[in-house]
């Protein structure tokens, strides 16, 4: 016998109201802007899907999107393996465990704009410690304010410095949950270190790794503060990622319509890629 009871819905209502006020309603205003044109005076003219078409066709958007994908790809390909390696080499027990954990957590505790400022000062060619060291001691021509490549390297290194810890901590949590018996059995079975990683550690880390990759994808795809403070999108447009470009259009040029359309496209891409990632990574479990 199953008794149907709809009362539970009432308990969800307060949350629904809260979410509506802080997410759905603002979101709908964006949708509203994205299909209209305004010249001020609170007067709006119907534009249809025009802004969407304009954004999707524009070279500027396509370039920013390309940079964004390249950035996220590089971040994932560096931070995920690096995070796994660091997690594997951290001690399992003893005095150094809390020390390592605190050291790992430190970069993540620093506010994002502070990270940007830190790296800006650190890498400035004449006065920054790293900038000075590279140019004047090692003789490498490095200037992130002038050279696109230097700027890219700096932005990537900064993000790796800031966020690899997240992957490390998640993987570490997965690793310490493996009972000793697994390692002992592997020893007895004569497994090589690679087999231990491939058949014991990696499968046990899979769930947390999925979360780590998803979080790193979303955060790096939506990144704004750190590169904005570090390079401001320059030199030229070389480090103008999607969110930086979006802010330029919305608040710099005050083109509310195109900015709204771009926001929605941006959001849709993030959602779609996250969904694809998640589906692919959890596909095996369904069997």
């Amino acid at each position: 016998m199953r008794t149907e009871n709809q009362k539970a819905w009432f308990f969800v209502l307060p949350v629904l109201a809260l979410v509506a006020f802080n997410a759905l309603v603002p979101m709908m205003t964006v949708v509203n802007y994205s299909v209209q044109e305004t010249f001020g005076n609170n007067q709006f003219f119907w534009e249809g899907l025009g802004w969407f078409e304009q954004i999707l066709r524009s070279d500027r958007f396509q370039a920013a999107l390309g940079r964004q994908f390249l950035f996220t790809f590089l971040i994932l390909i560096i931070e995920v393996p690096l995070g796994i390696i660091v997690a594997l080499s951290m001690p399992r027990k003893g005095f150094w465990v809390p020390v390592c954990l605190v050291l790992m957590a430190l970069p993540m505790l620093i506010p994002w704009n502070v990270v940007g400022s830190m790296w800006n000062i650190f890498t400035l060619p004449k006065i920054g410690l790293m900038g000075y060291f590279l140019n004047d001691v090692l003789g490498i021509n490095y200037d992130m304010t002038q050279q696109p490549l230097s700027a890219w390297i700096t932005v990537i290194v900064m993000d790796v410095w800031h966020w690899t810890s997240l992957v490390v901590l998640l993987c570490y949590a997965g690793l310490v949950s493996i009972p000793d018996a697994y390692y002992q059995a592997a020893k007895i079975d004569g497994a090589s270190p690679w087999s231990v990683f491939r058949y014991i550690q990696l499968p046990k880390m899979k769930t947390v790794l999925t979360i780590a990759i998803l979080l790193r994808f979303m955060d790096s795809f939506n990144i704004y503060t750190e590169p904005f403070v570090l390079t401001g999108g320059g030199p030229g447009n070389s480090t103008t990622l999607l969110s930086i470009d979006l802010v330029k259009i919305a608040l710099g040029q005050f083109d509310l319509g195109p900015a709204a359309a771009m926001s929605l496209i941006y959001f849709a891409i993030t959602l779609l890629v996250s969904w694809v990632f998640y589906t692919l990574m959890t596909k095996d479990d369904a069997q």
Partner: protein, 358 residues
């Protein structure tokens, strides 16, 4: 296949052990015959898992030697000792199929594909898992997982010994019995030396030809299940094995008799040594009821199905007796009779009476 010899084995988890209390294993000298089924029995923390890990090579002992036949393996890593170990919680490789799990130890040793297939099929047939060979191992029930981890040990035909570290802990009670008889059957088929660690006396006594009883890092008695039951060498063995355990009653020794709460009790034979603390040990099964004997008052009667367990007070000492039928009433006054050939004196825990020549 090998005979396993442990000589003067000691182990401490501390870097600089001082007294005997710092040792998890205090001085172990045991010989395990090739092809035997042994159980290591003792309460949690008595050192039995430590001993097992030393034999398998996961731990290196602080002192002493381990010999497989005549080869000293003390310094060898686990994979070179050709031993198999089954752990408390089933260890399986989640991403592999059952077949791949079974083949894994052989693959790691570079065995050729045809041999691997033959061995895996053989073992699968032995364990009744042939129909699961192609399923993912992660979805199996705990008892099947435990079978697979057992299989990974048996699949190598050069296995010296298979060790079990409380392998039935996570198995449902009704499957425990099945898996236990499977184990027994496997032992008869593969004839490898098997060492089974447990704190459950039923598991130990049903599995093993010989049981090693341990307490606080020491071996207190090695014997067949019958020997352990009939003639415990230490009060600990008497108390730990049997349900309920042996009565251990403070007494004084007077010639070839023990005096317990002012009553003289005939013993199995003459008593050795003197001094120390003396106790009278007798199993509840050998305490009978009669018209005469030691007066006692019944404080509790538990019906445990096959028989009754009667708790009684003699003076200020509580003891237990087993009544097959006609259990006395609660509170009634009864007379207890101790079977002389099963009444023994223990001095400082160790047996002090000698068996009378038959």
């Amino acid at each position: 296949m090998a005979q396993i010899n442990l000589s003067n084995l000691k182990h401490s988890y501390m870097p600089a052990p001082k007294g005997p209390e710092d040792y998890a294993l205090k001085e172990i000298d045991v010989t395990w015959r090739d092809g035997g089924a042994y159980a290591l029995l003792g309460p949690s923390g008595c050192g039995k898992s430590t001993l097992l890990n030393i034999i398998s090579g996961l731990l290196t002992p602080s002192e002493g030697q381990i010999l497989f036949d005549d080869r000293d393996v003390t310094a060898l890593p686990p994979d070179q000792r050709n031993i198999a170990q089954v752990f408390q919680f089933p260890v399986i490789y989640d991403t592999m199929t059952v077949g791949e799990n079974l083949a894994f130890p052989l693959k790691n040793r570079g065995v050729d594909a045809a041999t691997i297939k033959r061995r895996v099929d053989e073992i699968a047939e032995m364990l009744d898992v042939t129909d699961m060979l192609n399923t993912r191992a992660s979805g199996l029930s705990p008892d099947n997982k435990q079978k697979i981890s057992m299989g990974r040990g048996l699949v190598r035909d050069d296995v010296n010994a298979v060790m079990f570290d409380e392998p039935l802990t996570v198995i449902d009670p009704h499957l425990k019995w099945k898996l236990r008889s499977k184990l027994k059957e496997l032992h008869q088929r593969v004839k490898a030396t098997m060492i089974y660690v447990t704190h459950d006396q039923t598991e130990a006594l049903t599995f093993a030809d010989e049981v090693v009883v341990m307490q606080e890092g020491e071996v207190v008695q090695i014997g067949t299940p019958v020997e352990l039951f009939e003639r415990p060498q230490h009060t600990f063995v008497g108390h730990f094995i049997g349900s309920p355990g042996m009565n251990v009653l403070p007494c004084e020794v007077k010639g070839d008799r023990a005096v317990f709460e002012g009553h003289e009790v005939m013993l199995e034979g003459p008593t050795r040594g003197d001094g120390g603390r003396t106790d009278l040990g007798i199993r509840p099964e050998y305490v009978g009821f009669g018209e005469t004997g030691i007066p006692a008052q019944v404080t509790k009667v538990s019906d445990i199905g096959r028989h009754y367990v009667v708790s009684a007070m003699v003076g200020n000492t509580a003891l237990k007796a087993v009544a097959e039928h006609n259990a006395p009433n609660l509170g009634s006054h009864v007379f207890l009779q101790f079977k002389p050939e099963q009444s023994r004196v223990y001095r400082d825990g160790w047996i002090a009476t000698e068996e009378r020549a038959q």
